[in-house]
Symmetry: C3
């Protein structure tokens, strides 16, 4: 449980560096990330390296006792590299090259660029790989940011064809898998195949699905090449990448497998403004962030890092990039930091040390103001550092009793064919997660191919491609399993299964989806459970089943059926219904749930339970009477934290 900070020495006069380092150490910061956008400074001209500044920066930081996370600078190829090799540029879905002038202007499929990356990473690794202060490497920065995972240029097309040849061996197999017999889309050879953009109307969904799989694999192999180099050149260091929020274009589990630690960049207010929730939520949680946005990602990236994870960039004040950029509630930077530790973070690193007075992010706050006065975020970091000393180090999170199966591929499929506007696997997973958390349950995220053993309750919000193997693991877990709509509705090729949805789940739950419909707002389905009517939304499936219904639609047809410990939901439940689903199935799984005050969340790490109040009003701390509070007080102010020992 350490604090870190992102620092850009190259953006400041060298005579400030020593003071910066000293002040970081004083504040309680132990780790500093540097260099991830500095290629143009490391190699000012083609082949001419300038390490002097970086040597000095590293020495200055190390001299203050700071540990260094060194970023590879491949998110920002310099202008001279782009000019020498314009083919490295990524190409948008509109077929146009995406140019220099901001960042991430490269294609993952450019072999030229991969070679250039290997060159600069090798040079960095050779120079700094054994430096004692360098404790970790961050590969690139925020893979995929600004919609850059999928590129549509000639390089991508060529590698896509090779990828397809490997996957399908014969073009006949591909034609079958994609169903190209439809609309005369038949290919005679892999060479005829293009990326699925610039079509007259929607492209073949299996074509799109494979293109997304391919693009995801490209990120994996792009990352792995740097990882492999650094494992040799800098042994013993953690290799990490900083993922993002609400971003699913590649399979983060797959990238995570090549890393030592998964990290992510947590901007609760930016994510709320841009992605997360209704206008009412955006007003209610304006300065705190929605109670589950950070937690959802904390748990997701804990899974991606197989237990080891960091916040690499923690929002320290207002950001610059959302439509509106409010300031956090005083105390909230501290609360977010404790929230991350409660979910098992090893390190929380703030972005950034000092607000830059220039360039694209000049309106992004730092721990220090541009005039180098410690800002609100800095004061709160200091407070956390002091509290950390009191609390001592905690062991990692224990395994939860509840798992939520999250599939990147499921989200690609619902983006490719939402069938009803707004159906995204990501948001259904988020709303399911939220209900679990409102019930006071800790959640482990699990990939479809992850370990499911030992859980008591497994939520599968939606998993379109459901293999026999996943069903077997779900069965083997012994858990109560709750599957949401569209689960098992697709084969790996993207077809409707021969036995219809939920496909192989029918082996355990005797229900068949015989019709699917999507419904506009205002025509949302309603359903009846225990005599009460609840709202669902957007989606309704007709089930052919002899199973008794837990809940029915208003017309009497089954909406929620169960077969022993297997449950299936034929709609997208609203929050109250989702709470009921959690309550009933947790009870069946023998799990106690906690009715938390609105806006409060609890989370256990080691033998400590933390509670945070995200509501804009004070709440009673949900701590047992008599227990000694290790942090905070029983009157939990907005944005405040309490902690107590649980065993």
């Amino acid at each position: 449980m350490r604090l870190g900070v992102c620092y850009y020495p190259e953006q400041w006069p060298q005579d400030m560096w020593a003071d910066d380092a000293a002040r970081m150490a004083e504040l309680g910061i132990s780790h500093v990330r540097i260099a991830e956008f500095a290629w143009a400074l490391m190699e000012p001209d083609p082949g001419r390296y300038d390490w002097a500044w970086l040597d000095l920066a590293i020495e200055t930081l190390a001299a203050a006792g700071l540990k260094i996370i060194l970023g590879t600078p491949t998110a920002t190829p310099p202008k001279w590299l782009v000019d020498a090799h314009p083919d490295i540029l990524s190409v948008g879905e509109d077929g146009r090259a995406r140019g220099f002038g901001s960042r991430r202007h490269y294609s993952f499929s450019s072999e030229t660029y991969r070679a250039e990356c290997a060159r600069i990473v090798t040079a960095m690794g050779e120079r700094y790989g054994h430096h004692p202060a360098v404790v970790a490497w961050q590969i690139d920065n925020e893979f995929g940011c600004h919609d850059t995972t999928l590129s549509y240029g000639a390089d991508a097309a060529a590698r896509f064809r090779r990828w397809l040849a490997t996957r399908y061996a014969s073009v006949e197999a591909l034609n079958r898998a994609w169903g190209t017999v439809f609309w005369s889309q038949i290919y005679r050879s892999f060479d005829e195949i293009q990326p699925p953009n610039l079509t007259v109307t929607e492209a073949n969904p299996s074509h799109c699905l494979d293109y997304n799989r391919f693009a995801s694999d490209e990120v994996v192999s792009f990352n792995r090449r740097q990882v492999d180099l650094l494992r040799c050149l800098s042994p013993g260091r953690d290799i990490v990448h900083n993922f993002m929020g609400f971003y699913t274009e590649f399979d983060h589990f797959a990238v995570g497998r090549d890393l030592d630690v998964a990290t992510w960049d947590s901007y609760p207010l930016g994510f709320l403004e841009m992605f997360g929730g209704s206008n009412a939520d955006k007003l209610r949680y304006l300065r705190q962030g929605h109670p589950d946005i950070s937690g959802f990602h904390h748990d997701l990236y804990r899974a991606c890092g197989r237990g080891r994870w960091w916040v690499m960039e923690q929002q320290p004040g207002p950001v610059n990039w959302a439509t509106y950029n409010p300031a956090p509630l005083p105390g909230m930077v501290r609360a977010w930091t404790w929230e991350a530790f409660a979910h098992g973070a090893e390190l929380v690193s703030y972005f950034r040390w000092r607000q830059a007075p220039f360039a694209q992010e000049q309106m992004h706050a730092g721990l220090n103001r541009p005039d180098n006065v410690l800002d609100q975020g800095g004061l709160e970091a200091l407070r956390v550092a002091q509290e950390l000393k009191t609390l001592g180090d905690l062991a990692p999170c224990r395994r939860s009793k509840v798992a939520l199966v999250f599939s990147y591929e499921a989200d690609w499929l619902t983006k490719i064919q939402p069938h009803g506007r707004g159906f995204r696997a990501l948001f259904l997973a988020f709303e399911t997660y939220s209900a679990l958390r409102r019930a006071g349950l800790d959640v482990d995220m699990v990939a479809p191919d992850g370990d499911m053993a030992g859980y008591r309750l497994i939520m599968v919000p939606t998993l379109l491609v459901l293999s026999d193997e996943v069903v077997a693991r779900l069965a083997g877990s012994g858990a109560v399993v709750v599957c949401g709509p569209r689960t098992g509705s697709r084969t790996p090729e993207g077809h409707i299964p021969a036995n219809l949805g939920p496909g192989p789940l029918q082996a355990h739950l005797a229900a068949k989806v015989v019709r699917v419909e999507s419904l506009r707002p205002g025509a949302d389905p309603k359903l009846v459970l225990d005599g009460q009517t609840y709202d669902a939304k957007l989606w309704r499936e007709d089930l052919e089943t002899c199973l008794p219904s837990r809940a029915i639609f208003e017309d009497g047809k089954p909406a929620w059926v169960a077969d022993g410990r297997w449950h299936y939901l034929a709609t997208w439940p609203g929050p109250e219904l989702m709470d009921q689903v959690v309550a009933h199935t947790a009870a069946q799984a023998g799990l106690a749930i906690t009715t938390l005050p609105e806006g409060v969340r609890i989370r256990d790490r080691d033998n400590i339970r933390f509670a945070i109040n995200f509501a804009p009003e004070a709440r009673p701390a949900p701590a047992p009477e008599g227990v000694q509070l290790l942090l905070g007080t029983r009157n939990l102010a907005p944005g405040d934290v309490v902690a107590w020992r649980i065993d």
Copy 2:
């Protein structure tokens, strides 16, 4: 009165075909449409034809007694053809080629593609033209779908210049017609002229109008070439095309003149979701479709087919392509089928036999589920087949007493210069049609150059270009004529007439439009008729006239004037006002109107009157007391149909 189905044998194992054919026949289906997207199967490699599968399919279907409608596969040129001739691709308004990967990726102006089409159609015609089971040919599929009528490539530009040279003979005449003296747009030769896209601000409206006329003519000549070939190669067969709903980019009357039968693809729920009506309508008619969407098109295509028309694709369950895709109310597939027969359809053909488990339309229902179980639509088709046997065959529709003049060109003009957002001739025609139908009137659609003799009431919702010849035919009809706003507001060149609007109508109705304004929602005009205030919308004209006003605007100026049997409306009436217009003018025409229960529509065919309830509540059947019902009961459930004899 026959039932048909669209079938894709190439998408299923051959060992299913015989069973499919047998089950179709059992269901009461007599006609099967096949092959319209199968070019890549007919000609897997350039010049190498493979007819074996199609021979077998035809034989199998014929052996079950089914009649075959054979589609020419030109809506989907194969990949090899696109690769060999990339110039066949259509070009979007943005100047970019629209690529392979879905369908309709060709330009109507490509002479290369026209030759290729002639080749494949000739090959098909030679092979199957005299097959006894082949009773009809469908040319291509849904001309213009996905905004493909207008293309902007070099081929179109070259042919447009030739088209202009033919139309105008001299470039000076063109300059006069377009008014190119405005903004120095003057051309020195036809060679200087480009399509009207990629301009800095709006292009010249006469240029746009001619481009739309040209594009429409391109569709006509593209279609005619295939028709001409098949008339030779397959004499005696009906030649048809399947038109779409709410689609006006080319003149369907003109294409229809080369066909034996006009057919269209009727998706009431998809059209409601995507195109037809307010949010309130979309909720109220969610599962039934708006009561007039199908009828409007049935009557329009009956006109395009000069009395002979089919539904080629009837929605059988949820579709895949709308923003939201609800399921029809049980019974609704039957009701739509009867509605089409009531409007005079010879054939109603369902799309499609069985839901495909793959590709772009995998979420589109069929008569059968993907697992080959008869679905709800299939059950309803079976019921119609049985009812048809009871009812016996009916003669075609009789001529109506009411005509509605519909002009594709008028719609182009209002798209080019709406002047107020939302003014579309199409929707004004639809709302006028709807009022006639609410009054229980059967309607014939008539093209501006169509036969107007014998009607008692002719509605001209808007006809911007009003020629002396049309006025003469309106006059000659002896009918009460009701002209809506903007009628006669343009010359054939697209100019304001020298005597202002309504141009030549002033010979019969002494009123002149001296000012025009469009008004945002909330500032809609109100008008007073018989002491009552009614809503109009969007549009208001100031009339200079000595005629007495039937209705006035709130400021006392004339809103509805009449000169004997000639009426002119200076605004876009709201529904209640439109009902009043219909009531008054029908009375003047000596027509009795029927106050139908909300959501119910009636329509006569031969000597039978049908009534359908589109409302979500039950309604009393509008049948005379004592009359014997041939179908249904007097309590008309939602989605139910009744029929009785009227003479």
Copy 3:
């Protein structure tokens, strides 16, 4: 105080010209603008001039005693010129050339086009420069209309590099100024620099700012070249340009410095529909226009013309180009004309003499209908002409006591980095102006580098780049100075100042902006002034200050602070708060304010005060009892005008 009209003789038969001229003169029109879109008629083929028609037009108008404003036709290069030199086309932000077919399809940076313009202007100047009837020249037409100020082609890129080289001398200086160390944007030479379009995410804001400055300078030099030619060829004539409303892409003050008279095109209803205000405003002022839209621009262009200004195009009836195009209230064309004279216009010229029956603007009203009958606008112009005779000529406007500092650059900066959606310096200036006008104050607009001496109250709604020199002039004025949010928040390079905002203002007002946030609608800041709560919007700054607060935010932090005669607002005030700010600071400045009836505005010219009622209801005229009215009556009908002598 003269009336003019825009006339297109080339669009009408020559046999109408003499009658047109005679009728203009009869109506009281003295000035006629012609020829500004007629290049293709002056030079029908490359190098072949045809002056005959223009000679005749000029002679015909002159013979009727009309004075001629001759337009250079460079807004509409002919087709042959575009075909010969396609490089003259402008290039959109999307990288695509913007083609022929409408107007303004040229790049200001094309040296080819600049040479062609010099050629045609020289030819015109040589032929007509000494014609006695030619009293003025209009350069081009509406620079920048249809977003054409910024172009992104190779010509612009090359000239931008030269502009940068001049500004920065060394690329190192540029790298510092732009902060290119951020995200490895460092340039090694000016040759590497591109326009800031087509980037993956937002481009560097200093890069964007310089590109906007460059583009503005391009307009200045483009205009100047024509001005310089005409000063030689046509000495003694006024040289003018017609600017637009709510358009800020170039610095109009800078262009104005090369002109004799600033003119603008005033379309109050079009501007209201397209740009100006809430839906409620758009309904309330539907037929009158918002009370401050015209006045704001009148005062702005009076400043751009250093006192001399005209309305070159006055809306005469419904226009064609807004989303909805209502007709003006009867009387409103007269009221707008008087409003312009009240604000000091020398000339009000109507657009256009007669509505054209063809081409893009065929739905745009004129003084005459297309059938050559005088229209409502014509009747009102006639009335003004008669009233002008009664009233006699008035001296120009006197210097106001209130100045509003308006900065084009500030608006570029808030467009580049709004930070919160909707923050535009333009609209903050407009709302500030509106409050001053509601208080009955006449306003002078002043450029940041303008003369500030002698004002009692200077409003600086926002001036992001605040130089020491501007602060010195504000200080030297002795005025009460009111600075709005973001003032002084940027250095000329676009950086945050080293001492933070409001930068150099801190020398006079001891407050520092230590945090900035933007807030979505619904989370708008509220503040308390004299115990009352007021709404602000969108923006909030945290001030570090020991100054007492005039108003505080609801949490007690300072929202409005003052230090003697210097004021600073830390938010965007709502209208009621803006009224309070005006009331308090006007009182401090010793200015009396007038509580005007809602919708009424007053404005003094010479010794006459005019009042106009923009409300849709009648209002009492705000004239002192007993004073003699020179125009109008004491019951001020909607759209009516009164005037009386004030000294």
